[in-house]
């Protein structure tokens, strides 16, 4: 590790430490907002780990998230709570592996189509099983407060950043960047493209399931339509795109302003949320295709070339 790596590590730890102090304010509204930011931050960052370098757009976040909430919902009476998020991670990872094996050997379009409807399909199956067994939803009653959920999510965030940092320095991370640039070149260099893609897709799958499992106590009552909301997949893509996927810190830079903006929108225009979400997304795709990261790099490059002239 170089001195720069150490610096970044210490900086990250300090920022997370400061963020962890938020519940001490005792402001319930701020903490609720903090939970949202932490949740979207973790989801968007892990999403970008795979979709950033490969350019394969995953629309399946809601599916894995929903599976995670259902792990908590159905396991809370049987297992101690602390066992559930890891279990959700394993199940989410396996599911992502299966989805990856079925679609990632083929072109990107198949992957997008498959992930587009995955949440809806799992929702149908869960609803069907529930109807067959006769109960519609389930209660998750724990003594966990918003503060606990917040701290748990920050812990996952730390893990995701460490994982992202490690992947960025690994052969796997390098292989994924090559695949994202030119898949044919990648395979002619000796990279097993399918295995690399599936291996990395497991990460956001597992993380989204863990987050779902941790958020479940917040919902208290869980039914398929709340657990598998397609809006979630969409929000995660928007926020990650807004921040930019080229850097590890990109998505969180998109998550914070967007979550705040979203707060304003859902309070002031409760009936137009979907419309405004769609319009925001179009604006980002057209005006900021590389997000804040891209904007930052452009300004940086311009500053550098100016220096060179002087």
């Amino acid at each position: 590790m170089t001195t720069r790596d150490w610096k970044n590590l210490v900086l990250g730890a300090v920022l997370l430490g400061i963020a962890a102090l938020l519940p001490l304010t005792g402001d319930a509204y701020a903490i609720a907002l903090g939970v949202n930011i932490a949740m979207y931050g973790v989801l968007a960052t892990s999403w970008a780990l795979f979709s950033g370098p490969t350019h394969y757009i995953s629309l399946a976040t809601a599916a894995f998230f929903g599976v995670g909430t259902y792990v908590t919902a159905s396991g809370i009476d049987v297992l101690p709570y602390w066992a559930l998020p890891p279990l959700a991670g394993i199940i989410g990872g396996i599911l992502a592996g299966i989805v990856g094996l079925a679609t990632l050997r083929l072109s990107g379009v198949y992957f997008v189509i498959f992930t587009l409807g995955l949440a809806e399909m799992i929702r149908q199956i869960v609803t069907w099983r529930q109807n067959a067994t006769g109960h519609k939803g389930s209660y998750v009653l724990t003594d966990l407060t918003e503060n606990h959920i917040y701290w748990q999510l920050l812990g996952v965030a730390a893990l995701v950043y460490l994982a992202g940092w490690a992947i960025g320095r690994s052969r796997l991370g390098f292989a994924l960047r090559i695949i994202g640039d030119d898949e044919q070149v990648a395979s002619h260099l000796g990279i097993n493209t399918a295995v690399s893609k599936v291996a990395l897709f497991i990460v956001p799958g597992a993380v989204a399931a863990i987050v779902g499992a941790m958020i479940a106590p917040r919902y208290i009552y869980i039914e398929p339509s709340t657990a598998f909301t397609p809006m979630l997949s969409f929000q995660v893509v928007i926020m990650a795109m807004l921040g930019g996927t080229g850097r590890l810190w990109g998505p969180i830079v998109g998550v914070i302003p967007f979550t705040l903006l979203w707060e304003v929108i859902s309070v002031s225009f409760p009936n137009q949320t979907t419309l405004l979400l769609g319009l925001c997304f179009l604006l980002i795709v057209y005006l900021l295709p590389n997000g804040f990261v891209g904007l930052f790099q452009k300004i940086h490059a311009r500053a550098l070339s100016k220096e060179a002239y002087q």
Partner: protein
């Protein structure tokens, strides 16, 4: 037997929707995730005209088609053409068009929620039984099927036997070569995208006669249309029709034998089989 006929009747309308998507993806190279929303727009128009002015959905088709054509043409020119221009490769265009149309689909759902609200839309049109091979079927389903057959048939003949149709097929095979023989590819792509949208919207008007729609059902139809297009092969109208009929029958089988709430799961099951065993489509040749 009645399951199969019901399935075929449903598959006929699916063929119409998927043919629209296939024109958009196969010719204009736009993977349109907002296709289902265009369908819902068609369905809502039929609903509004029937309940408001008593206009038969069959007549509505002639109103929906030109409006949807114009709307889709404008969408292509304003939103998608810039993407086609800035894309460096087909892969990049695919990715950008997926993102854009995904945003568009949410925007359209949002608009419809705003205008029509979140409730279900259903009206009763020709809801009389009709006896076919000794079983009862809804007359509306039969009429819908016939409409779909006529529209698909006209489209098929036009694509295969007219000069413009041939140019469109040429663009589908190779935009580069089409340009070399003097075909105006951007113009035809816009044309194909608009026709595709119009066909899908007509499909929506037809399907609204016997299915309940709401503002956010579009994505389910997008999924089904995408699965059909992959199954039948991109750019292959005949394959699309056969795949649509298979999906219609398969779905009806699952719905009537297991549970009506599992139609999308059934479609997915077929999709997985295709992905595992014939990713080039049912009738496609192995890519070389």
């Amino acid at each position: 037997m009645d399951i199969i006929i019901t399935g075929l009747l449903l598959g006929g309308t699916y063929a119409l929707i998927a043919t629209g998507l296939n024109l958009q993806y196969g010719v204009a190279r736009i993977m349109n995730l907002a296709n289902g929303e265009m369908l819902v727009v068609g369905g809502f128009t039929a609903f509004a005209l029937y309940t408001g002015a008593g206009i038969s959905p069959v007549l509505t088709l002639f109103i929906v088609a030109p409006i949807a054509y114009a709307l889709n043409w404008a969408i292509y020119r304003v939103m998608l053409r810039p993407l086609v221009k800035r894309a460096k490769s087909r892969g990049m265009l695919e990715q950008e068009s997926i993102l854009t149309t995904f945003g568009l689909s949410f925007t359209m759902v949002g608009l419809m929620l705003w205008i029509f609200g979140g409730s279900y839309f259903k009206y009763s049109f020709l809801a009389r039984p009709f006896v076919l091979f000794g079983d009862n079927y809804g007359l509306n389903r039969i009429v819908a099927f016939l409409c779909a057959v006529i529209i698909c048939g006209v489209l098929y003949l036009w694509l295969n036997h007219s000069r413009a149709g041939m140019a469109i097929r040429a663009v589908a095979v190779s935009p580069e070569s089409a340009r070399l023989v003097g075909i105006d590819v951007p113009k035809l792509s816009a044309h194909a995208f608009a026709i595709g949208g119009a066909v899908t919207a007509m499909g929506g008007a037809v399907i609204s006669t016997f299915l309940t729609l709401d503002a956010s059902t579009g994505v389910i139809f997008t999924m089904k249309a995408l699965i059909i297009v992959i199954m039948g092969g991109v750019g292959d109208i005949r394959g699309t029709i056969i795949a649509a009929l298979i999906l219609g029958v398969g779905e009806t089988l699952v719905a009537s034998l297991i549970n009506p709430g599992l139609t999308l799961a059934a479609a997915y099951g077929m999709f997985i089989l295709i992905l595992l065993f014939r990713p080039q489509g049912l009738f496609g040749r192995k890519p070389t």
